[in-house]
């Protein structure tokens, strides 16, 4: 698995939304996309799914069938009558096709994925009855059952409680250790520092890419968050409203 962007510009309907993207990710690496709202984090993730346009540069992206995607659970209708088990099984649809009966191996994979995210006891519950953090874990389990080589996560910690955040971080570390490359967008600098091997700073263009030590510094972050003053307190990064 290799993901490589060289001088890439991205956008929609020919209009650029993000420029100068230079990233290289190998199996097992964890990349966090950091930047304010509208910075282009989702555009970059969508480009890996073929849902935004590559308007310049060279992009080497793994085939679609080895890429997993975890959307934000808040975008989904909580009233939709679908069980946790059914949602996770959707991750097997690609191999099952439209109509092939569910096999023992599929049920086993779903059970294992739910166990991995700590939600075995919720398997028969309706998805919408779970908390935001639990829903996010279900969507992670759905991605896991497809055994992706590259996993993309769109703001996986938004509206997530501490227990679920810890559970998600643990699963992501395990996946990474098993060779799955991860790309996640986040506003949370502490999570990015804790979880990622590589950080990509974005705001309309790529400002920097490197290790957390290289990128999560006041001098690197200040231009990315131009509308806010940035300060360091007790070694931690703090974004302060102007």
């Amino acid at each position: 698995m290799e993901l490589r962007y060289t001088g890439v510009s991205l956008g929609y309907q020919g209009k650029k939304a993000l420029i100068d993207v230079e990233i290289r990710l190998k199996a097992g690496q964890r990349l966090a996309l950091v930047g304010p709202n509208g910075a282009g984090k989702s555009t970059l993730i969508k480009s890996m799914l073929g849902q935004s346009e590559i308007l310049g540069g060279t992009a080497i992206i793994p085939p679609r069938d080895v890429i997993g995607y975890v959307p934000q659970s808040g975008d989904l209708d909580p009233d939709f009558p679908v069980s946790v088990q059914q949602v996770v099984m959707m991750g097997r649809y690609r191999s099952l096709g439209w109509w092939r009966p569910v096999r023992k191996a599929d049920r086993q994979a779903v059970a294992e994925a739910l166990d991995q995210v700590g939600l075995t006891d919720k398997a028969r519950n309706r998805f919408g009855t779970l908390s935001g953090g639990q829903r996010q874990r279900v969507l992670l389990a759905r991605a896991i059952v497809a055994q992706p080589q590259l996993l993309l996560l769109d703001e996986p910690f938004n509206g997530v409680d501490a227990v679920s955040q810890d559970a998600i971080v643990t699963v992501l570390r395990d996946l990474s250790a098993a060779g799955t490359a991860l790309v996640l967008s986040t506003h949370d600098l502490a999570v990015a520092r804790d979880l990622a091997d590589l950080i990509c700073l974005l705001n309309g263009r790529q400002f920097a890419v490197g290790t957390p030590g290289e990128t999560l510094t006041a001098s690197s972050l200040r231009p990315v968050y131009a509308h806010r003053a940035l300060d360091l307190a007790d070694g931690r990064l703090v974004l302060v409203d102007p």
């Binding site: 009558p81 959707m90 109509w99 969507l139």
Partner: protein
């Protein structure tokens, strides 16, 4: 006559309950309302030129379904507003077409509230055929329809053509609407399609059970409405529609009482 009407309402109500679940799940009730009204001019035009009403309804309904699907995919377009305009525009076009035909206006009510008591053997065969086709489509396409309805972004990322599946569902809804309209009418079709599914949704989260319950409630509403119509000489479409509405209201009240 009443025997054929009974068979027809069982077939039509089964269809309505089956598709109603998808309409309720995806919150497409307003779109379906617009579709019932937009079908109206096609049915009237078909009647005027002497072709099968089903074909006329399918032709105009397909244009509307595809138009709404295209609109909902465009950024910045208000699909709900467009659907609303289509609702009244379609109905107005149907009324205008009727007005061009002298002596035609007295038949208006049969389009508006249906005429299930006049169904022919050919109508029964067509409805049965549509039921088999729609049942097969919903069964064979259950997985992609479920995935794209629940999580379009996730489904798209998994390689499903979400727009194409939306069109499949909208066209299936449209075929059902066109089949239901002659029985219960343009104005009243929505209640038979949506009310049983909405009532069933109050009782279960499980999709197979929800679908079965919606079909049973729709058939029960249809038969009850037909019986009321025969007993008290009420327009069949209206009594069927009222029965379906009553099923929803009773379910809602019972659910409130239970919880």
């Amino acid at each position: 006559m009443i025997f054929r009407a009974t068979i027809e309402i069982v077939l039509v109500a089964t269809l309505a309950g089956m598709i109603g679940v998808h309409i309720v799940m995806r919150r497409l009730s307003f779109f379906t309302m617009a579709l019932t009204h937009a079908t109206f001019p096609g049915v009237v035009a078909a009647s005027i030129i002497g072709v099968n009403l089903l074909l006329g309804g399918i032709a105009t309904g397909a244009v509307i379904a595809l138009g709404v699907a295209a609109l909902s995919r465009r950024r910045g377009q208000n699909a709900a507003a467009a659907t609303g305009v289509l609702l009244s525009g379609g109905f107005a076009l149907g009324a205008a077409l009727i007005a061009t035909q002298s002596g035609f206006s007295r038949d208006l009510s049969s389009f508006l509230v249906g005429s299930i008591l006049t169904v022919s053997d050919q109508d029964l065969l067509i409805t049965a055929g549509v039921l088999v086709i729609v049942g097969a489509v919903l069964l064979l396409c259950a997985r992609p329809l479920l995935f794209t309805g629940f999580d379009p972004a996730g489904a798209r990322a998994a390689g499903l053509a979400v727009g194409a599946w939306d069109v499949v569902l909208l066209l299936t809804i449209q075929v059902v609407v066109v089949t239901v309209v002659p029985a219960v009418g343009t104005i009243l079709a929505l209640s038979l399609i949506v009310a049983p599914a909405a009532a069933a949704r109050l009782w279960t989260d499980r999709l197979p059970l929800l679908t079965t319950l919606a079909m049973l409630l729709a058939v029960a509403s249809g038969l009850a409405g037909l019986a009321v119509s025969a007993q008290w000489n009420v327009a069949a479409g209206a009594s069927i529609s009222l029965s379906a509405t009553l099923a929803l209201l009773v379910s809602w009240a019972l659910r409130k009482a239970v919880s």
